[in-house]
């Protein structure tokens, strides 16, 4: 072989390799925490959902805007009483090992989810299914009593306890993903290990280095693989947001799923249009212990709420422009429309403070008799900044605030025990429906940290959830929300925003209220 031939062959091989590498589009995503598992029934975090939703697919899945669309089911019917859902599975759907996905795999997965032996953290999200809660509590031991039946391999019937208008949204949640019965039964707990795991989503995991990353590649057995623009993704573990931003700037990440808020102004100037700050289905709020005087007095709670200058918190204290919250359900929540607002929402701030002083004076407090309040929050710079700012906003009312911080687990442990006077809390929606927020104020619910209790409110939430007409349901819920706001059941402060940084190379990234962005909808420029 002469020199020219050698050079020619070498160039051809190199060219081919480069052509392949140019076509291979791998998305590098900064994903925050380490996934607890790849088993969808053992997850609880949004960083885990990003991976699970790429490698598994439920009956219903989400489009780029997070709207429900057919997933493994091609269609469904709902019985007139709203309790029985019948799903027709797509033809030819397969697990990544080529085995067919059947209705039996969904039955198996949902039975496993509610089986108390498996201790799934999030089993309660599917308690709307008939007998799910009773099985989970051990009151029913026969798993076949769960309201999920395979009529045949292609037809699945799910019966609910009550009509649940948000059920299709709940099916998008990872707790409703199917599991490969044939692999779980053959491999036991190890079914989820790389090398054993088979999945039914657009991608499949091929590598997991705990503390570093999870790598996925296209699942050739998925029905829409030919339309996928991204060949695979690497989900990187990195909780230090400053370090993550540096790696993004160095081109090592294509998407950051969070960023340090104090860098937002810098990013707007230096990384124009790359930082995506968008409304998110979540609420930052303070609870007030309604069982403990003087906070049991509605006037005290309302005075505290009115004196919070919400307009400065998002833009000035956080710096990322979070919108002030005057409702309990964030605007844009599905099945609801415009939420209810506090009656004093549009008053100028000085009038709000004047009214708050009056309310507090009526309740017996003022500069001569200061109200002592302990404000607790979990250790975090932003929580601290907000607490300090709010304490200073309350000072002119004659409220003497003692700030107490504790690590997250201790803080929430104390909140659940009712050991706080005023406590910081937050809620991110599990499913896109007002019930997910309104339920936080129902009597006896664990997350009702302020222990506010109103039988009328409880009844309205119950009635709303039994109503199948979505319009009527929204009206009932709105009345309930108005009641809670009039009573100052808790103090909404701001609506969360999602904070992503997306490289200009990435296309198809659509901001949405649940901050869910599946890789299947994305593409990368050459």
């Amino acid at each position: 072989m002469n020199q020219f031939t050698k050079k020619f062959l070498a160039s051809a091989v190199l060219g081919t390799l480069l052509a392949f590498s140019a076509q291979a589009a791998t998305l590098n995503i900064h994903n925050g925490g380490d996934p607890q598992s790849l088993d969808p029934q053992k997850l609880s975090g949004d960083w885990e959902n990003r991976i699970a939703g790429d490698i598994f697919e439920g009956l219903v899945t989400e489009d780029a805007k997070d709207n429900p669309i057919p997933g493994q089911a091609e269609s469904w019917t709902i019985s007139p009483d709203g309790k029985v859902y019948t799903f027709k599975l797509r033809d030819g759907i397969k697990w990544s090992d080529g085995q067919p996905v059947t209705a039996g795999d969904f039955v198996f997965a949902l039975q496993r989810l509610v089986d108390p032996k498996n201790a799934a953290d999030y089993a309660y999200l599917q308690f709307t299914i008939k007998n799910a809660e009773k099985i989970n509590k051990g009151e029913i031991t026969d798993l076949n009593q769960l309201g999920v039946k395979a009529i045949d391999d292609k037809t699945l019937e799910i019966t609910l306890e009550n009509p649940t208008p948000y059920f299709l949204n709940a099916l998008m949640h990872y707790t409703a993903y199917p599991l490969p019965k044939h692999v779980v039964e053959a491999k036991g707990q190890d079914w989820v290990k790389i090398g054993n795991i088979v999945t039914n989503g657009p991608y499949k995991p091929v590598e997991w280095v705990p503390g570093s990353h999870v790598t996925t590649v296209k699942n050739d057995q998925w029905y829409g693989t030919k339309d996928l623009k991204i060949d695979g993704a690497k989900f990187f573990v990195l909780e230090d947001q400053e370090a993550a931003l540096k790696r993004y700037r160095a081109g090592e990440f294509d998407i950051l799923t969070d960023f340090p808020t104090d860098q937002y102004e810098w990013m707007k100037k230096n990384l124009p249009s790359q930082a995506h700050v968008a409304p998110f289905s979540g609420l930052y709020y303070y609870v007030v212990n309604s069982q403990k005087p003087p906070f049991s007095d509605k006037r005290v709670r309302q005075a505290l709420s009115m004196a919070i200058n919400r307009e400065v918190i998002g833009p000035q204290i956080l710096g990322t422009g979070e919108l002030p919250a005057y409702s309990w359900v964030p605007p844009g929540t599905a099945n609801y429309g415009e939420p209810a607002y506090v009656s004093w929402k549009d008053l100028p701030y000085k009038d709000k403070v004047a009214e708050a002083k009056k309310l507090l004076a009526d309740a017996g407090f003022g500069p001569d008799k200061p109200l002592h309040a302990v404000l607790s929050y979990n250790t975090n710079d932003n929580h601290k900044r907000i607490a300090v700012a709010i304490a200073s906003m309350w000072k002119p009312l004659g409220v003497d605030v003692e700030l107490v911080n504790a690590e997250t687990k201790v803080h929430y442990d104390q909140m659940q025990r009712g050991q706080v006077e005023i406590g910081r809390a937050g809620w991110l929606a599990d499913y896109n429906d007002p019930d997910n927020f309104l339920n936080l104020l129902v009597t006896g619910v664990q997350m009702n940290y302020g222990r506010w209790s109103n039988p009328d409110y409880d009844k309205m939430i119950k009635d709303g959830n039994a109503e199948t007409d979505l319009k009527k349901r929204a009206e009932i819920f709105k009345k309930a929300e108005q009641l809670a706001l009039d009573e100052s059941a808790a103090l909404p402060i701001y609506y969360y925003v999602s904070k992503n940084v997306v490289s200009p190379k990435v296309e198809g990234f659509v901001d949405n209220i649940q901050d869910i962005h599946r890789t299947r909808w994305l593409s990368m420029k050459e």
Partner: protein
């Protein structure tokens, strides 16, 4: 010597047992449990989880079960990582931590001893001041400050090295974390070496060597270095255990999958199994490293060997 080492080894068993027992109970006394969080779980789920992890049993029974498993070599499950047991996680993270830690250890010795010797030989002269000041930066500035500075300069502006991650494990990914980890120890070793070397260089046997006409380099290499290393070796035990266990900040900033991050994460998550597992692992490691230092000390100093 072997008898001495064995005796030392056996004497650590009660210490380790006390440490495990204390860690077990102190951890359980801490407020907040492994399943508390922003999203409280319903009582029925908590009950199922408690049963799954034996947390529904009396504390003393939990302790006996744990110690029983431990004697069989089982470190138990991790509460926050269900797909890997505690032992599996430690084994996965160890090669990363070990690679970085060992490289940083060797670099710290090489740089520290060299700079220290130069400092002693050029005492109170320009090289002493310049090199001494440079290595002192590593001691004075904490690594959570140095790391981002190096990331900015060498990762973003000059683009010589990746800003973080393990990548394929090639040297370019490891240079920055190794340097950041090694710097403070290099500084301390250089100060100890310098001081010790100055002391040795003023002793009679060095003066005799000089009087015989041996050049300064040979005097240092052949006669002064070994005795001057005694205090350095004493420092190497704690330094090695720190480098292998205390790389938490470096691993976090550079996004490395080592075990340095496990302990704090596990403690914050109340992951009882993982905290105890890492405590036991670190104890064994420290005992082993201290033993190695003792052996090295005995090799350097015949008085210790014959004790």
């Amino acid at each position: 010597m072997i008898k001495y080492a064995l005796r030392r080894l056996l004497s650590t068993i009660p210490v380790m047992w006390i440490a495990v027992t204390a860690s077990f109970f102190v951890l359980r006394l801490a407020p907040g449990g492994p399943f508390d969080g922003e999203r409280p779980l319903p009582p029925v789920i908590l009950k199922n989880l408690a049963a799954h992890y034996n947390l529904d049993k009396p504390l003393i029974q939990q302790y006996l079960l744990y110690v029983g498993d431990l004697l069989k070599g089982d470190l138990g499950p991790s509460f926050s990582s269900e797909d890997f047991s505690v032992a599996q996680q430690i084994m996965i993270g160890l090669p990363y931590t070990f690679t970085i830690g060992t490289a940083a250890f060797l670099l710290a010795i090489l740089v520290g001893v060299t700079v220290g010797c130069f400092g002693a030989l050029y005492q109170n002269k320009a090289p002493d001041y310049i090199l001494g000041s440079l290595v002192l930066i590593g001691v004075v500035l904490p690594n959570f400050l140095i790391a981002p500075i190096l990331q900015l300069i060498f990762g973003i502006h000059l683009a010589w090295f990746p800003v973080g991650g393990w990548g394929d494990g090639s040297l370019k990914f490891l240079v920055l974390p190794i340097v950041v980890l090694a710097l403070p120890h290099a500084g301390r070793i250089s100060r100890i070496t310098r001081g010790s070397m100055i002391e040795v260089m003023n002793q009679n046997f060095i003066r005799t060597a000089k009087a015989k006409g041996i050049g300064p380099r040979l005097t240092v290499m052949r006669h002064a270095l070994k005795p001057a290393m005694m205090p350095v070796v004493s420092y190497l035990g704690p330094a090695a255990s720190y480098l292998l266990t205390g790389s938490l900040v470096v691993e976090s900033i550079f996004g490395l999958p080592g075990i340095g991050r496990y302990f704090v994460n596990a403690a914050l998550n109340r992951d009882y199994g993982m905290v105890l597992g890492t405590v036991i692992f670190y104890m064994v490691l420290i005992v082993f490293l201290n033993l190695l230092v003792d052996i090295a000390y005995a090799w350097l100093d015949p008085k210790v060997r014959n004790r």
